[in-house]
Structure formats: C-alpha cells, structure tokens
Symmetry: C2
Subunit: 277 residues, 2 copies
C-alpha cells in the first residue's frame, strides 16, 4: 500500500483508527473457546464488526507467539482473512524486530512475504543495516520506534547529547531519514507523550505516525490530533483493549463495533476541525 | 540454569562456545531436503556432532519465522531435543524482543515457558518495563543488547551525552543494573568491537557477555578473551555460519564437529592462559 492509498482510505472512512489485535485466550468470551481456533474466530468477528470504521489492524505478534505453533497458525489465518476480504486495509505486524542485516532480512521475509503484512514495527537500536532489509519491499512499510508510550521510554529515549542538542528519540528521527522516507517509513509515537508531538512534527512534518496509547494506557485523542495531525492526517491511532475487550459476553463484536464507531466519530470531527476533510 | 552451573559446564568442557543455529533451508545439504522436517533434521545432527564442545546453542528465531508455521514447529522440536538429550546445555532464543510490559510478558511466556528456552536476547530501547517481565523467571536469563557486532551499531549506540560523559551503550550497561544482576542478566557485545571490552568490563566486571561476530563477521577470539575474560570466564562466544555451514555435503555434521573442536581447542588454551582453568 502506498501513501496516497492510505490517505484515500482515511478520507473515505473519515477515520484514522487502527484496531490492535492483542488477542489473549484468557480474555476472549467463553463461548468462543469451543471453536476449533478460538483466536482466529475472535479476530474474524472483531474485524467484520469494526472494518467499517478502521483503516488498519495491528496484530500484536507476542500474543500469538505465546501460544506456540497454534498461535502462529491463528496469526496466518487472521492476516489472510483481512487481506482477502478487506484488501484496502493496512495491516501492521507489531513485532518490534531488528537484528544484523542477514537476520533482519529473514524477519522481513517472515512478515512482509510469508505472512504478507503491509508493514512491521522495528526497533532502531542496531542502526541502519538492521532496518534497511525491511525497506527493500515495494509498497511495504517500516514503522520505527521513536518515542514509545510506556514508562520505560524515559530510561533511554531521553538520553541527551548536549553537543548535538538532542535526545535519543530525536536522533532516531533524524538519522533514519537517511534510510527511508515518508513513502516507506513511519514512526511510533506514544499518545501518552502528545505534547512532544509539536517537536516531533518539526523533524518529520510529513511522515505518518503510528500512535498507540489511547485508551487503556491513558493518552488523549484530541491532544494527539492537536499536536500531531498534518494536512494528510499523518496519524494512525491505535486502540486495542478498549475496543476488542469492550464486552466479554456474546455481544463482544457488537460492543467492539460501538467502541470503534465512537472513536471514528471523534476522529471525523478532528479531521474536519483540522481541515483534512 | 544458574551462574554456577554455567561456569561448571565451562570448566568441564573447557569451552565457552555457543553454536548459532541460523538454519536456512537454502543452505542446508541437499540430501536433507527429502526429510519430513529438514530444518530439524539438520539441527539434530549439528547438535549431536558438536555438543561435546559447545556449552550453548542459540537458534536465531528469524530463520524459523521466515518459514511460517513450519519453521515454528522445527524450532519447538529443536529446543525440546536439546533440553531432553543435553539438559546441561544453555539454550538461547536469539529473538531481540522488547515491548510494553503486557506485551513483553507475552514474549517471555512464548520463549521462556512455551518453548522453554533458558534465555532470550532483548533490545533495550523501550526501557525497564520492556525488560523486567523476562526477569521474573527463576534460573532464566535476559541477554540485553549493549554493543552489537554490525556496522549499524555506530548509528545510535555511540550517541553520547557529554554531561553524563557516556555513550548510549554505556548508559544501557549502567541503567540496566537497576533491573537485574549478574545472576539473571548478560549483555551482547560484538566481537568486532573487542577493544571496547576493557571499558565494558569496568562497568560490568562480573556479568557474562554473549559475544557474536567471531568468524563470518570477522571478530577475533583471542582479542575477545584478552579484553573480556574474567575469573569465571564471563564469556559465551558464538559462532554460527563458520560451524554449521562448514560443509554443504553429506559430511556436514563431521565438518561442523571439526570446526567446533578447533574453536574449543583455542578456547581451552585461552582459559588456561587467563587462569580460569
């Protein structure tokens, strides 16, 4: 998927919502547990119920790997189901991979070829040759960690060079401009640090940002839009637990749909307010 | 496995060799490709042939994931085979994971419970809560990226705070001492940067270091020992391609054994030279 197709989808759906598929066997409704593949059954219903309001899905790979081979099968089926039924949707492998070149190449093959995701989240610590193998695919994207939503973000991401007058997360934003551009790279910026978005937008005015942390983690959608939206929206805001676990009963898909619609309605207002629509 | 068991194994085998199982279907001998599970068949023969000289195996998870579900099955079988037949051996998931707390917890479950690895390599960028879930397991280990062996290491790991008078990789070494200690944490330090080991040993004198980069990547075993060995050895040196692809013929396991023995013989000399034995 390219930049324009993504923007077109945002305008068409009046939404920049990504639904995080952090699907946990301990948290899905009881009645699904008798299905042959409960994780896939859950994901399928969630996707069908919310796809009208979402431009993106983001399976969190850890949740599938925690179940071993069975989890990997559920993951394969989930991506295939989305791509076959909703080909316009942007599918993100939230994997946070990154290794020496020949190994990153294997991860790229795993997620961008074998599983056919549109994009993958990548950790920047190992530098250019750990990231560039993911950038060799046409119409696929790297989403590089810049400023994450968790408490631990303060441990290293704000490490500061006085001489360069920048923090590590700013260095990541700047340095990575040599590796890719707004057509194949996005950045993860946590919603819990919305006030930093003004500064981040000075460094990467045109890139899309993947913003987790709205909902369960406490970030504000309004603040994210205020400080981070650009003329092509430039935001993909993720909500996971707030949508997929809105109800634990048989009405879970309907409840997820309602939560997704609420977020979409707020997003539509913001897209109008900031003159994207 | 605890610190002492690991040290005992090093003394018994007179080796600190880790064999990296970067098993690539494109590179294994032709005759194995008719096996039901060629990747596992290859790993099994490599392990049987080299276990006399190796204290550790390190499957590189990317190589398995690139093959989808089949790869995950081969990985499960490989770890199970090693644990059942050679329970004294330290098995490392080279996975370089790290995410927000609830997600790192799932990766910990995947690798330290479901797959039953002894340890996992973890990327530090997201800070404490991305690392600590892996530290909650008794006798299991985090191996945190500090200074990696690749060219891209220079992009961010040498980012320097003048005020703190340290580079990012030094900050990682220092900060992470608050999260774990020498009994549940090791560090990745690339053999291609052996001269940095003197400085690293000032910060972490007692920790084990996992050292990749000897062999195909050009690092020197002698330099690693000279600058990095401590009185409990404190080193686990990995070789992957140099051992497992020593021959592409039917004699691949015998060739791997010979390469492992050569490294072990050099290691034995160094353990004596530096008075560990």
């Amino acid at each position: 998927m390219n930049y324009n197709s993504l923007f077109e989808q945002i305008k068409k759906k009046k939404s920049f919502l990504c639904v995080g598929l952090d699907t946990d066997i301990e948290k899905i409704p009881e009645h699904l547990k008798k299905e042959e593949d409960p994780i896939f059954a859950f994901n399928k219903e969630i996707v069908d119920a919310t796809q009208e309001y979402a431009i993106s899905y983001k399976p969190n790979i850890a949740f599938y790997e925690s179940m071993g081979t069975d989890g990997w099968i559920s993951l394969e089926k989930t991506v295939k189901y989305i791509k076959e039924n909703y080909p316009e949707i942007f599918v993100i492998a939230d994997a946070k991979r990154g290794d020496i070149g020949n190994t990153s190449r294997m991860y790229a093959k795993a997620f961008l070829e074998t599983l056919n995701f549109d994009s993958i989240t990548v950790a920047p610590y190992m530098g250019e040759d750990s990231v560039s193998p993911f950038l060799e695919y046409n119409n696929k994207w790297v989403i590089l960690l810049a400023l994450t939503s968790n408490k631990g973000a303060f441990d290293l991401q704000f490490f500061k060079s006085e001489e360069e007058n920048k923090h590590l997360y700013e260095k990541v934003l700047e340095k990575s401009q040599d590796w890719g551009d707004q057509n194949n790279m996005m950045y993860v910026v946590g919603a819990t640090k919305a006030e930093m978005l003004t500064n981040i937008r000075e460094i990467v005015p045109n890139h899309f940002l993947l913003v987790p942390g709205v909902g369960a983690q406490g970030g504000s959608l309004e603040e994210v839009a205020k400080y981070g939206m650009n003329k092509h929206c430039g935001l993909i805001v993720n909500s996971s637990r707030g949508i997929i676990y809105a109800s634990k009963g048989e009405d879970f898909a309907e409840a997820a749909k309602n939560e997704a619609k609420k977020l979409k309605d707020n997003m539509e207002k913001l897209l109008i307010e900031y003159k994207v629509l």
